[in-house]
């Protein structure tokens, strides 16, 4: 499905990585490893199309992602270092609006159920500004459920989460893979999931 | 045919343009100096005293070339920028960046010499005349372009952002020019207006043209000097720069 060949990225005069190549088939996941500053975030941003690689090609279902455009973006979900939630809005509103921008409408019941699943019970109506670091992160991650995407690209999804939340999230990723999804993750912590491909930068 | 295109692209690469520019610069300097001396000679020793304006009119020999160049350079700059955006040639962005300060200087000189002309002729440094106002706005556009590029560190991003701004500006310059013109002529309250240029003697025309050529050659020479520096700055870590004779010695 996703095939990457001979990818390389420059930053300033520094070559972060070169000749990165891998393939990802349904049900597989990739753990991108590397020290701080190795270029993991840069690689992920290139994979989703936010940064232009200096060389190499990224193909999705056989076509270059630059050509696919929206068709690729519809099947892919990227959650980065950033909050990407509106601090003034409540978790519920945040999820609903994010879905509306993708052109879909969420059912209120399901959305609230998802928030509960992410441990935000009793915080549905509080502006995100008031939430703790970990709770903010959970609001963001709830989009994994409310949006159906085949490819998940997650940059350090476990930061700021407590032990229970990490377990919940890795179970979620496991389900996604079992249903034929794909995932690309970075993390400095040990991964609580098995059977991943590993790539060292 | 295809051969020529390849050649063209070869010189569009910074690596081959750098030495080429180095070779061209002295020639343009020579031309600029030659035309400059000739132009100055005509403006001070050949051109006769003007019947209405006395000697003050001699400012025309720098004022008009500076005004022309300020407008012309903006067009060239925008063309380079657009080329860079369309074809992704690295050199184009550098050329645009190299031209901007010279263009801004020309606009500034036009304003400065115009003001110095206005005081004796109209009795005031500045009037809100259409041409003056649009020249001032042109100067602001240059400054905006330079400021935008200076504010962005990543040169590739700076080039692209600058290109969009330059193109938007090109669309706007005629709009601005005509709107200002209309604004000014609609309520003609100003007690002074641009005195009609005297029917210029042949010599004056020649003087102006030669001075304009001098300004032109000067602009090319300076822009080439600056583009060489920019090339080195941006490519400082590529191998060909390290192998340059200037660097090795």
């Amino acid at each position: 499905m996703l095939a990457v060949s001979a990818l390389s990225c420059l930053r300033g005069e520094r070559r972060l990585f070169s000749d990165v190549a891998f393939e990802l088939a349904p049900g597989e996941w990739l753990h991108v490893q590397g020290e701080n500053g190795a270029g993991k975030t840069t690689l992920l941003r290139a994979l989703v199309g936010l940064a232009q690689p200096d060389e190499g090609e990224i193909r999705w279902r056989g076509a270059p992602i630059g050509k696919l455009g929206e068709d690729y973006r519809r099947e892919m979900l990227y959650l980065g270092h950033h909050g990407a939630v509106k601090e003034e809005l409540t978790p519920l509103e945040n999820l609903r609006l994010a879905a509306a921008l993708d052109g879909r409408k969420l059912d209120d019941r399901d959305t609230i159920a998802t928030l509960h699943r992410f441990g935000l019970k009793g915080r549905e109506e509080l502006p995100v500004r008031c939430l703790s670091a970990g709770q903010k992160r959970r609001v963001l991650l709830a989009r994994l459920v409310t949006r159906n995407a085949a490819l998940w690209v997650l940059d350090e999804p476990f930061t700021a989460l407590d032990v229970k939340a990490i377990e919940m999230l890795s179970a979620l990723i496991g389900e996604h893979l079992a249903q034929g999804g794909m995932a690309i993750l970075t993390s400095h912590q040990a991964m609580p999931m098995a059977n991943g491909k590993v790539m060292k930068l | 045919m295809s051969n020529r295109i390849i050649n063209w692209f070869k010189f569009a690469s910074p690596q081959s343009f750098y030495p080429l520019a180095g070779k061209m610069i002295p020639w343009f300097w020579a031309l600029a100096v030659a035309f400059g001396i000739a132009g100055l000679w005509i403006s001070f020793f050949v051109a006769p005293t003007d019947a209405q304006q006395g000697e003050g009119y001699r400012i025309i020999f720098v004022h008009v070339p500076a005004s022309w160049m300020s407008m012309f350079i903006y067009l060239i700059m925008a063309a380079w920028a657009g080329l860079g955006l369309a074809l992704k040639t690295r050199l184009s962005g550098m050329m645009a960046q190299a031209l901007a300060p010279t263009g801004a200087l020309m606009a500034l000189l036009s304003l400065w010499t115009g003001a110095l002309w206005g005081k004796p002729m109209w009795g005031t440094w500045w009037v809100w005349d259409a041409r003056l106002t649009s020249e001032l706005i042109l100067f602001f556009l240059y400054i905006g372009f330079i400021a935008l590029q200076a504010a962005i560190d990543d040169p590739r991003r700076a080039d692209k952002a600058g290109a969009i701004l330059a193109l938007v500006g090109v669309v706007n310059i005629p709009i601005i020019y005509f709107s200002v013109k209309w604004w000014n002529t609609l309520h003609q309250g100003a007690s002074v207006s641009l005195t009609k240029s005297p029917s210029m003697a042949q010599t004056m025309l020649w003087g102006m043209l030669i001075m304009a050529l001098a300004f032109w050659m000067y602009s090319i020479a300076v822009a080439l000097m600056r583009v060489r520096a920019i090339i080195l700055e941006r490519e400082s870590h590529s191998d060909w720069v390290k192998e340059l004779r200037e660097v090795k010695s």
Binding site: V48, D71, A84, D102, P127 | R156, K160, I176, S179, H187
Partner: protein, 221 residues
Amino acid sequence: MNAFAAIIRRDLLLAMRRKSEMLTALFFFIIVVSLFPLGIGPEPMLLRKIAPGVLWVSALLSTMLSLSRLFATDHADGTLEQLALSPTPLGVLVAGKIVAHWLTSGLPLVLLAPMLGLQFDLDASALWILICALLLGTPLLSLIGSIGAALTLGVRGGGVLLSLLVLPLYIPALIFGAGAVEAHVSGLGAGGHLSLLAALLALAVFFAPWATTAALRISLE
């Protein structure tokens, strides 16, 4: 189309949630306009003469101030990345954001202007022309401004740089907008000015969202 409505609704909701922001932009307009009689003196003749200019310059400055937030908040919290990655074309979302910006910052000015015009002793027909001119002109300001906002996104000193880029481009709108009222007052008829404004608006509607989208893609890289 769905997403277009959704982003307008989202931006309006956010504006409501930060109500103070919208209101203060309005008050900024009111205060700047009211500063002039203080700085210049109370002669009614003089005031009537400078009224259209002052109102337009203030409208321009107040729109410009709110411009810096047009994309900046979305950029800072990472939402803009998500918009760029959304399956909806970015151009549609950008157009929606521009519409929302006009609704929250341009439209209120239009509604408020007649009241301020009274302070400067303008008569009823001049006020009508003022409203028409602002109705055509403020969307133009939002459209042109969005290009500047996108270009200066995430750039050091963005706020002031933005005004440096955008203000010169606003000049035709200013000239025709303020000119319309003046022409009317001096008996020349405002039709020409207004139709020129409309032509500029039509031009901007086509090109500005496109240029803004291109600039945003660059800023995100």
